[in-house]
């Protein structure tokens, strides 16, 4: 049988049928049955977390994997009528009422692509965004006293000079802080949560800190101080803007 799922670790036998049936009700568009599989205290969060194509025709449980803390991850591939396919990983927990989904995400993990990217209306940060289009990370610096300025300002807060420069900096630094966001606060985040936001401190920019989403947002061993390197993700469309991301080194 080529359709049998891979079982990794000690996987309870009854979970296989539960996860297969979950895939079937999702593929059939049976929302009531899908919601019934979710933990009751997080149906809203789970519904907004994953993103699937509209017209699904089939599902297949690829793999069930034992995780720490009594959790089990199910990888289910959904196929749409146009032939495209999407894999979701649902994490299951056994509660008094039965097996329930406690987390779900699209596989692979990809950073959210936000329509808000790009310069603000007054253009104050435009050289930064233009720099990304040129494949460079540029940070504002006072041309008179050398003070590094972030967020950008119309004048140097230290010497009050208006001669502001935008030198290219080495996009390498260390995690100053981080958070893994699970709540799909906007529809743009659906299909991408959870993702890790990193605030990285850049020695090449006088210790100024730049935000960016971490590639590989599923990594569980995040810590302050880790070395990261910037990468510039291309604009999603010709009129859009590239975005700075971080990757651990």
């Amino acid at each position: 049988m080529t359709d049998r799922p891979v079982l990794a670790g000690e996987v309870p036998a009854d979970l296989v049928a539960v996860a297969e049936r979950h895939g079937q009700v999702v593929a059939a568009g049976d929302n009531a049955a899908t919601l019934a599989d979710f933990r009751a205290d997080r149906t809203g969060q789970l519904t907004g977390s994953a993103r699937l194509p509209d017209r699904l025709i089939s599902s297949r449980l690829l793999r069930l994997e034992a995780e720490p803390d009594g959790l089990f991850a199910a990888y289910i591939r959904y196929t749409a009528d146009d032939g495209g396919s999407t894999v979701l990983r649902s994490v299951w927990v056994r509660l008094d009422e039965g097996w329930r989904v406690t987390q779900v995400r699209n596989i692979p993990a990809t950073p959210p692509v936000m329509a808000a990217a790009g310069p603000r209306d007054d253009g104050l940060d435009a050289p930064h965004w233009e720099g990304l289009r040129d494949g460079e990370v540029r940070v504002q610096r006072c041309g008179r006293c050398g003070h590094w300025i972030w967020a950008p300002q119309p004048a140097c807060p230290r010497c009050h000079g208006f001669e502001l420069a935008w030198p290219t900096v080495e996009p390498a630094g260390n995690v100053y802080s981080w958070t893994r966001t699970w709540q799909p606060f906007s529809p743009e985040l659906s299909g991408h949560v959870p993702f890790v936001i990193v605030l990285a401190e850049l020695p090449s920019a006088g210790g100024r800190r730049l935000l960016g989403v971490l590639h590989d947002g599923d990594s569980t061993d995040m810590r302050v101080g880790q070395a990261v390197r910037g990468e510039i993700d291309p604009a999603p469309d010709p009129g859009g803007w590239p975005v700075l991301r971080w990757r651990r080194v």
């Binding site: 936000m114 808000a116 967020a151 802080s177 699970w182 959870p194 935000l211 960016g212 989403v213």
Partner: protein, 389 residues
């Protein structure tokens, strides 16, 4: 001539609507605001036509002049909006009203805040504070900014997560005695807290404040007038507001990153103006958008030790009225009473001076209000009983 505000003004009336589940208010934010103001005036025994000043914060949609027109007041002498998003302006609004009456600009100033999801939308508290240098990276909400600050406070400063939970549990326990609280009759146990869904690590669901529809208001007047109106005015002993170096709108480049924003000079002014030893509060209402920044506020104020020792101090017994070392959020706060941008905390700070809290701290003379951790602006007010002036 002293330049101090100490004892020159007092709160003589408080009023509030119910806390409605967000999106379910039967009325507009302006209508709710009028209900709250009328209740505050009735509480003070003042004809609402005699109100002559209005102060709000956090870009309240009901402009002071419009509120005054709706009430048909005889004269508007003072109308102020405190700049700075989030709840940072809540105590600053009280301070602005106190400054107005202390300097003779007005006599009866209402501090108000009204919110409905229908009028303000979701997450109205964050509007305009998430430019593309944040939002392009999926940072869309105060929850995520506060999570970043809290993560470093836990991981680098060594504040234990138990300190956050103690504050949350104290809020819920206090709410069980407050029939007006949204969480009344809905206690929170450890397993429910710790097993709740993540919002943005390290913050889980119950670390986050609610969002409600509602309105509340207080009447600030001169000390002399307050004594005419109320047997026990809540005197303003001091008030501070502001932002420290590199604090506001810096795309997470704040100098004191794990601070809530109450920088040392501001804290020193707060106690000095009140003529109190640092930390001499009997009870504290601390704005908790999220549990972590509230703990950071108490650390900033010197009410709680920093680092690992915060866990030793921030225990549930220490935070509970009536006997705890530092009772906090005795009505339940934004977490468990309800969230109308923290205005409810002002009312509870006043109740503690009056002796009318559902979780009264016996003989409370000094009642501290802290507004707006991690917001672009923070503010604080010390209220004192008649014995303190």
């Amino acid at each position: 001539m002293s330049r101090s505000l100490r004892g020159a003004a007092a709160v003589a009336g408080i009023g509030a609507t119910p806390y409605y589940k967000r999106g379910t208010s039967p009325h507009s934010a302006l209508r709710l605001t009028l209900e709250a103001i009328l209740a505050a005036c009735a509480d003070a025994g003042l004809d609402a036509h005699d109100v002559d000043g209005f102060v709000s914060y956090a870009n309240d949609l009901s402009e002071g002049l419009a509120v005054g027109a709706a009430l048909g007041v005889r004269e508007i002498r003072w109308s102020t909006m405190v700049w700075g998003g989030g709840g940072g302006g809540v105590a600053a609004a009280v301070n602005a009203a106190a400054a107005a009456v202390a300097s003779g600009q007005a006599e009866h100033v209402i501090v108000y805040r009204g919110l409905t999801e229908a009028d303000d939308g979701r997450q109205s508290y964050g509007k305009g504070h998430f430019p593309s240098l944040l939002s392009a990276h999926g940072v869309l909400t105060p929850a995520q900014v506060c999570a970043l600050r809290t993560q470093r406070m836990l991981e680098v400063d060594g504040v234990p997560g138990s300190a956050l939970e103690a504050l949350v549990q104290a809020s819920y326990q206090h709410a069980q005695q407050n029939p007006d609280a949204v969480a009344y009759g809905r206690p929170l146990d450890h397993d429910t807290y710790a097993g709740a869904r993540w919002v943005s690590e390290p913050l889980r669901l119950f670390d986050c404040s609610r969002e409600n529809d509602g309105a509340a208001a207080v009447l600030v007047t001169s000390a002399e007038r307050a004594r005419d109106l109320r047997p026990v005015p809540a005197y303003v002993l001091s008030g501070v507001q502001g932002a420290g170096p590199d604090w506001s709108e810096s795309a997470e480049n704040n100098a004191a990153y794990t601070s809530a924003g109450f920088h040392p000079a501001l804290v020193a002014r707060l106690w000095a103006q009140a003529e109190l030893a640092p930390g001499a509060a009997d009870v504290v209402q601390v704005y908790e958008n999220f549990s972590g920044p509230a703990v950071a506020s108490l650390i900033d104020l010197g009410l709680c030790p920093p680092g690992a020792e915060a866990g030793t101090f921030m225990t549930l017994p220490n935070l509970l009225a009536p006997d705890g070392a530092l009772p906090v959020n005795t009505a339940g706060g934004n977490l468990a009473e309800g969230f109308v941008h923290g205005i409810g905390l002002v009312l509870e700070a006043v109740r503690q001076i009056r002796g009318t809290s559902a979780n009264q701290v016996p003989g409370a003379d000094i009642s501290l209000l802290l507004g707006g951790p991690v917001a672009p602006l923070v503010s604080a007010t010390v209220f004192g009983s008649p014995a303190t002036v």
